[in-house]
């Protein structure tokens, strides 16, 4: 199929003179589209705040449950899952009520995918905790808050 026309031809020749044009197009489209394969703004640690946070799971006695062996996903997955679920409710991160609701949704999902019941695990309840990490006088300080709990039936 021939698609030649003088206007397209001139535009094509002009475009061919731009150095590293593929790089340029990727950069422009990445910032226009955001996280849509094959584009991304690669925001990994683009902002390094003074406080970091992570989430973990415990039983009714607040003993940590290893989530890889129990729920078959990594610690970072739990964090991202809560973060993305949160962003579906609000764009400003940190509201404790929304966090609690998202925590409950996450526990529901975890119970279904890992088939959690009194027959499969020995825990009576499973809790999700939020841990905030700061550096004070060159020492790590961690502040943990319970965000959701679900009884095992």
């Amino acid at each position: 199929m021939r698609i030649y026309s003088p206007l397209i031809c001139s535009a094509s020749k002009l475009f061919s003179r731009i150095p590293a044009k593929y790089t340029l197009v990727i950069v422009i489209l990445s910032f226009m589209l955001g996280k849509f394969q094959p584009f991304s703004t690669f925001p990994v640690y683009s902002h390094i705040p003074a406080t970091a946070e992570y989430y973990y799971v415990t039983d009714e006695n607040d003993s940590i449950i290893p989530i890889v062996t129990t729920f078959d996903f990594e610690g970072s997955n739990l964090h991202k899952m809560i973060e993305y679920k949160y962003l579906q409710h609000s764009e400003t991160y940190g509201d404790p009520d929304i966090l609690s609701m998202v925590g409950a949704e996450t526990l529901d999902y975890m119970f279904i995918t890992a088939d959690i019941s009194s027959k499969t695990v020995s825990y009576r309840a499973i809790k999700i905790w939020n841990a905030k990490v700061t550096m004070v006088d060159k020492k790590i300080k961690v502040l943990s808050t319970e965000i959701a709990v679900k009884q095992v039936r």
Partner: protein, 299 residues
């Protein structure tokens, strides 16, 4: 001063080794993703508009694996490259979106952008062959060099986008705030700790975060250097040597980050080694050396 970013020349042997290494890596990633996950907990990107649930089923996974295998064989043998790279791109976009929807940020975009670069080069060849008004048709040699050129541009673009993100999100305070990395490192080690309940992960998190807290100037210098490296990766297009030089720095940077923080970006390391450092070149030289020695011994 005008920088001459011309297309570098590579041999067919180098291009063949690049194809073999890259396609095997691509196939391993696709296979690993399909094997590892069986649900879509957080639909992201295209998964919000397109139903990717077929990737959670065994027949869906098997079809994609077979299609990927056929593509890899054709890609290595350099057959119907426009069609093959187009299909590889579509498979990559679907499967990597599926992985992103596991609430993971793996940044596999670089792999798909690289294949898209291949596809554009082969499309350019097809268009120029049929429409003389756009310019001279490309021969096989030129197409191969253009594919590698676009591949390098894709990698460089990802680093440049990352640098711009840092500058737009945090500005130059990204370098000043570098010592905050200590809490981030502790967090990433705690992710490993809560996953497996390994006490040594908690201990190493405390160890590395204290190293950073006690060497804040050194960390700021390293961050400043990283930002420069990401921003001016385009220099790699100047010559083959420049490409190797920048590529080696990228790999050193990733290995250092992986060692200290445990955060790995294997996909970047692999594509940089294949297309920028060009591991094919020393492999070919070693083979030539052995061939010459073997002939000399045989007389």
């Amino acid at each position: 001063m005008r920088m001459n970013l011309q297309i570098q020349t590579y041999s067919f042997s180098e291009w063949k080794i690049m194809r073999v290494l890259f396609s095997l890596f691509w196939f391993e990633r696709i296979g690993f993703i399909l094997y590892s996950y069986s649900s879509i907990p957080v639909p992201r990107g295209w998964a919000q508009f397109i139903d990717l649930s077929f990737l959670t089923t065994v027949p869906g996974k098997v079809i994609i694996i077979i299609a990927s295998l056929v593509c890899v064989v054709m890609y290595i043998r350099n057959i119907k490259m426009l069609l093959v790279t187009g299909i590889m791109f579509l498979i990559g976009v679907c499967v990597h979106t599926y992985q992103d929807s596991q609430a993971l940020d793996m940044y596999n975009e670089v792999i798909n952008l690289l294949i898209l670069g291949h596809f554009i080069a082969f499309a350019q060849e097809a268009v120029l062959a049929r429409n003389k008004g756009f310019g001279k048709a490309l021969d096989r040699d030129e197409v191969k060099n253009l594919v590698i050129h676009y591949s390098k541009q894709a990698i460089i673009a990802c680093y440049l986008v990352a640098a711009i993100s840092k500058l737009t999100d945090a500005g130059l305070s990204w370098v000043v705030d570098a010592p905050n990395l200590s809490v981030v490192i502790y967090k990433s080690h705690m992710h490993a700790y809560i996953g497996w309940l390994l006490p040594e992960m908690k201990a190493s998190g405390l160890y590395y975060s204290s190293i950073i807290a006690n060497n804040s100037y050194l960390i700021q210098i390293a961050f400043g250097f990283t930002l420069l490296l990401e921003s001016f990766g385009i220099i790699a297009l100047k010559s083959r040597k420049a490409s190797v030089f920048i590529g080696v720095w990228y790999v050193v940077f990733h290995l250092s980050v992986a060692y200290i923080t445990g955060i790995r970006f294997d996909q970047f390391v692999v594509v940089v080694i294949i297309f920028m450092i060009n591991i094919a070149y020393p492999l070919i030289k070693i083979r030539e050396l052995y061939t010459v020695r073997f002939r000399a011994i045989r007389g």
